[in-house]
């Protein structure tokens, strides 16, 4: 790998900025929650790295979005477990994870208590506080521009100069507005450019899209607009039907009810073919997808709530494979590019690793609740596999294994936030004894060999029932065992103990 990196003139003006251009073991790009979380955990493991961000301050997308202010992920002030305990993370999806109990569950500290959904501003303040308290350092105002391979690593060209690294971790978020190719769509704003809701007073508004941002906007416009029409090719997917966060969350469903009851909101399944500007506004042409027929809408305003994409820059030229209509990198279970070795992702991009998609439920990595756990797992994986750090495994007494596994699947946020994706793994080795291998991607566990071991995960079946699933590796062969569900989600019962004891017979 080349050693000397060229600083640009601008870097000399940067004064006391951390991480001047040069070579680092790892470089993280971004200063949103994904970047901050992976930097924190790499730092805890002693892995040297630089953090670079084009932004002037931490926060990532939360510096601007959600546009209509509140998130759709909970931080519950009165949880059924002790606040600031490890298991509280399941009741607080928005706080980044830290090892020091004093700094855990930081988001509720900044909330006013009017809702268990924090506002955008509260999230932004929280992330600044996280940076201060955890002492994560970022070189702000340093824009990543180019990427090149250099031996076994990379050279990242930035606005401040070149950075060499063995491992690059991109945490730049789903931050760029994305529009499909529709004639005339360049005349209308994206959701990211939408105005405060009162400025749409008395208007007929058509929103292209029926996913989260479309519903969030429609919800905000309800008291102001004469008519709201939402159009997109596929029918609305609701989280309560998909049994996952893949779908519109109930928090934004008032427009859906208005549509069902016929109150002036219309949700139509149609493929938009053309948008024309008229003297009074816009004319939108669409064709029905789930029922035949053509639509022509005359409205005052059209907004494209058509989603987001990652700023992948020149990575495609490096061979990066993508999914989701070329918007998200295709990733392996430990969030490494499927096609560019050494290129890892953190934050919302980690949804590019979907896992086993059991019963249709993909990984829950599009939001902090899920990707914060990914960051902890990724940091350990990078430290052990690329930087020679040995992370000790805790030994378990034979009598503790069953209660420990059942406690984990009942309470652990890693397993609840990342159903079917992350599991608690315990290995059984005659020489090393019984060891807690930590939290690992289930896909990695079932697709790799190793000593006899058990992984326990939480799964949700087609009926919506949550239940523990046990994956047992004996003599290199994996078997799956689904344990009973429980209406109160208590998997620490005598029946579960009996079932798991029988499965682990001969290993304890």
């Amino acid at each position: 790998m080349a050693v000397a990196r060229r600083p640009r003139k601008s870097s000399r003006r940067a004064g006391s900025k951390p991480f001047p251009p040069g070579s680092y073991p790892a470089v993280i790009i971004g200063s949103g929650p994904g970047a901050l979380q992976i930097s924190y955990f790499l730092g805890r493991l002693g892995v040297g790295h630089a953090v670079l961000s084009a932004d002037p301050a931490p926060g990532g997308m939360f510096r601007e979005f959600p546009l209509y202010q509140r998130l759709n992920t909970w931080s519950k002030p009165y949880p059924p477990v002790t606040p600031r305990s490890r298991h509280y993370a399941w009741y607080d999806w928005n706080s980044l994870l830290v090892d020091d109990p004093k700094h855990q569950a930081i988001v509720p500290e900044f909330m006013k208590g009017e809702s268990y959904f924090p506002t955008r501003a509260e999230m932004e303040k929280t992330l600044s506080a996280f940076v201060d308290r955890s002492r994560v350092r970022v070189r702000y105002g340093c824009r990543w521009e180019t990427t090149a391979r250099d031996g076994g690593g990379f050279v990242l060209g930035t606005s401040d100069g070149e950075y060499g690294c063995r491992i690059a971790v991109l945490a730049v978020g789903m931050a760029e507005p994305w529009k499909p190719q529709i004639p005339g769509i360049d005349q209308i704003p994206h959701y990211a450019q939408a105005r405060p809701s009162r400025q749409y007073a008395g208007r007929r508004v058509l929103i292209l899209g029926k996913r989260t941002s479309a519903f969030e906007m429609a919800d905000s416009l309800l008291p102001w607009c004469r008519t709201i029409i939402l159009v997109s090719p596929r029918p609305t997917l609701l989280a309560i039907n998909s049994h996952s966060t893949a779908g519109v969350r109930a928090r934004h469903l008032v427009p859906y009810e208005d549509h069902i009851l016929g109150g002036g909101v219309f949700m139509l399944d149609g493929a938009t073919s053309r948008i024309e500007q008229t003297a009074k506004g816009y004319r939108v042409y669409a064709s029905g997808t789930t029922r035949p027929g053509d639509f022509v809408f005359d409205v005052d305003t059209v907004v494209a709530a058509t989603g987001w994409t990652m700023p992948l820059r020149d990575l495609r030229a490096l061979g990066l494979a993508t999914i989701s209509q070329d918007r998200i990198p295709a990733l392996r279970p430990f969030w490494e590019s499927t096609t560019v070795p050494g290129l890892f992702f953190a934050g919302a991009a980690t949804q590019g690793a979907v896992g086993l998609r059991k019963h249709g439920v993909p990984s829950n990595s599009g939001g902090i609740g899920g990707f914060r756990h990914n960051a902890r797992v990724l940091a350990r994986y990078l430290a052990e596999t690329h930087f020679g750090v040995s992370v000790p495994r805790a030994a378990l007494a034979a009598g503790d294994v069953i209660p420990y596994l059942l406690s984990e699947v009942t309470h652990a946020a890693e397993l609840w936030n990342q159903r079917s994706y992350l599991g608690r793994v315990v290995s059984f080795d005659q020489r090393r004894g019984i060891l807690d291998e930590g939290i690992l991607p289930l896909q990695h566990f079932v697709d790799t060999s190793g000593p006899d071991a058990v992984a326990i995960v939480l799964e949700t079946d087609q009926s919506g029932d949550h239940h523990p699933a046990v994956y047992l590796r004996r003599d290199g062969r994996i078997t799956e065992h689904v344990l009973a569900s429980d209406p109160l989600h208590n998997f620490e019962t005598g029946e579960h103990t009996r079932q798991l004891t029988a499965l682990l017979h001969g290993l304890l």
Partner: protein
């Protein structure tokens, strides 16, 4: 990588979707998820429940039972449907033998999808009939 427009064009060229209008193809592209598998990655796992329906857009996969290869699948082929329709774990592994791009339909969505697009259902039945015929010829 494939943009939305490229995916629609890809689908239009597959027998399974040959009877759909362009707006319907657009809806299908939005209803199904896209996945990419590198050579050697497993897609379906023999004996593990909760799998989904896959349609190959590009690439090739091997069907393996107890580690022994039985057949290969390529562009336009689909797999996982028997497991989904019968609610049973797959009886074979499906492994990418070269990089492969698929569309995925969650098991929970298969019934409403097939009812919404009867032409696709009919094409799938035809493909199943060919598979049964081929199996009969082997015997």
């Amino acid at each position: 990588m494939a943009t939305r427009e490229e995916l629609i064009d890809l689908l239009a060229g597959l027998a399974l979707f040959a009877d759909l209008t362009r707006p319907q193809l657009e809806a299908v592209v939005h209803s199904l998820e896209e996945e990419y598998f590198a050579e050697g990655q497993r897609v379906l796992r023999q004996g593990l429940s909760g799998s989904n329906l896959y349609i190959i857009l590009d690439g090739e996969a091997a069907v393996q039972i107890d580690g022994k290869q039985r057949t290969t699948l390529g562009k336009g082929d689909f797999f996982g449907e028997i497991s989904v329709l019968l609610g049973e774990p797959p009886n074979a592994d499906v492994v990418a033998v070269r990089s492969m791009r698929c569309l995925v339909l969650a098991a929970t969505q298969v019934e409403p999808f097939l009812l919404a697009y009867p032409h696709i259902t009919f094409r799938m039945l035809q493909a199943e009939a060919r598979r049964v015929r081929t199996t009969s010829v082997w015997r």
